[in-house]
Amino acid sequence: MARHVIALVEELPPGSRKFLTIDERPIAIFNIKGEFFGLLNRCPHQGAALCEGPLIGLAQSSDPGEIEYTRLGEIIRCPWHGWEFDIRTGQSYCDPKRFRARAYPVNVESGSAVVKGPYVAETLAVSVESDYVVVDL
């Protein structure tokens, strides 16, 4: 496992997502209300680019007519078949026993920490004054 420095924090404002390829793996990084999340950009169902789908909420119901809509913006919906996955864990809401999206931890690290390493800075020149988005995979 390596820690990859993928962006300056300012480059990924809330509501944005960044697509990149690390070690031949397609990855997407999301900033959702200031929190960062990473997912493999491949749906475990039929292989679509999962992270190009919309971020929606979680619709749950205990009884017909009673619907709770929560977790707004934390559920990714596949652009093909609409399968839904939890952005925090990769859990599938369609078939949790058989399928899980691959989730990667993403953190913000200070430039001084990043300079000490061990990190892989893809194409970024790292400066101690800045904060960086770092993904582990």
Partner: protein, 367 residues
């Protein structure tokens, strides 16, 4: 609004086994894209009066269908226009990466089911010219479907005969939701013409006939419509068999498109059982209903049946015949089937080849 940074996907270098895709939906990039193929009279008519469908005052989709235009979100062409409206993007996203050797175009919302039969016929004929001009003449892997004003059997038959022998077309296309069940006599001129020019008749789920999708009324949910296509197609198939269409047109081949196939054995059993007891009502049938189904019907696979146990799938296919299934993706629609993910393990090489390519080449005369 999301800010997106996306690198260009790298081209796949692997060479995949060739497939046929028997359900591709080409779209118009603009509302006036058909005008070059329509007389000026109809441009003015469309702009003054629009199109009146049997469905009443609405076009096909009465509600958003899960994804924009019921299509994959990654299928918007980069040059603009709706999903499925760009040949170059279709080549890049579908035909090249999946090594599609034969792609059958099934234009929907094409003028079938309009109350103004002259307008319906003009639009359908324009769609057929447009398929040649925009698609099949530009990419020899693509073949068209002759669309017809299916509520006007005589004009439909004339359009079919006009296309006789044209290698741009490999089938006649009907939609399942018509004014009356498709076995009835008003539709027989279509079958007569198709048999005469030697093309199969595909019946695609969907349509504008004005009847509810289900026999018990209008459903509440899109998910009911998705499932209801199978129920609707069962009434279509029962009608075709019981009206004697296959006795009347013994060389006719038909394709059930996008309506499932898991129900075929059960419908066959039920028809046969009733036929044993009620034969005298339909004495022109010389064989058991299931025999007509097995001999005359082909089935596209998408959206593929996906039972928990694969042996159940294989049992259904055994009843239908491995020689009757035609792989389809339904591109660019959202319920696209990715070819490598569709068929479970445990299928012989010969059956696999038939499923993905051989059956389609044979049926559509491409071998």
């Amino acid at each position: 609004m999301n800010v997106q940074f996306r690198p260009e996907p790298s081209a796949s270098v692997s060479v995949k086994t060739a497939i046929a895709d028997c359900d591709i939906h080409p779209a118009r990039a603009t509302a006036t894209e058909l005008y070059p193929f329509l007389e000026k009279r109809w441009h003015d008519h469309l702009e003054a009066y629009g199109k009146q469908a049997y469905h009443g005052m609405m076009e096909g989709p009465p509600y958003p269908k899960a994804q924009p235009n019921a299509s994959r979100r990654d299928a918007w062409p980069p040059e603009g226009g709706p999903q499925g409206s760009s040949l170059s993007f279709m080549q890049k996203q579908l035909l090249d990466p999946y090594n599609v050797a034969l792609g059958v175009l099934n234009p929907l919302a094409s003028g079938q089911g309009l109350r103004n039969q002259d307008l319906a016929g003009a639009i359908c004929s324009a769609i057929n010219d447009w398929q040649i001009e925009k698609w099949t003449s530009k990419d020899s892997r693509l073949k068209g479907s002759i669309v017809v004003a299916n509520e006007d059997g005589l004009s439909a038959a004339a359009e079919i005969r006009r296309r006789a022998g044209d290698p741009n077309f490999v089938q006649v296309l009907l939609l399942s939701r018509t004014v009356e069940p498709l076995g009835q006599r008003r539709y027989w001129p279509i079958y007569e013409a198709a048999q005469e020019i030697g093309l199969p008749v595909g019946i695609h789920a969907f349509g504008f006939g004005g009847n509810p999708l289900t026999p018990s009324g209008w459903p509440s949910f899109y998910i009911e419509e998705m499932v209801g296509h199978s129920q609707c197609q069962q009434t279509v198939l029962a009608s075709l068999v019981l009206e004697g269409v296959f006795e009347r047109y013994p060389k006719l081949k038909m394709v059930m498109i996008e309506a499932g196939f898991g129900w075929a054995p059960s419908l066959g059993w039920r028809l046969d059982k009733s036929f044993e007891r009620l034969h005298s009502e339909v004495p022109y049938l010389k064989r058991k209903p299931s025999e007509y189904i097995r001999d005359h019907i082909w089935w596209t696979t998408q959206p593929m049946e996906d039972p928990e146990r694969r042996d159940h799938l294989f049992q259904v296919i055994e009843w239908i015949g491995w020689d009757k299934l035609l792989f389809a993706t339904d591109y660019p629609h959202w319920d696209f089937d990715e070819p490598s993910r569709v068929l479970p393990a445990g299928v012989s090489d010969a059956n696999r080849e038939a499923f993905y390519l051989g059956n389609a080449k044979k049926l559509y005369g491409m071998s």
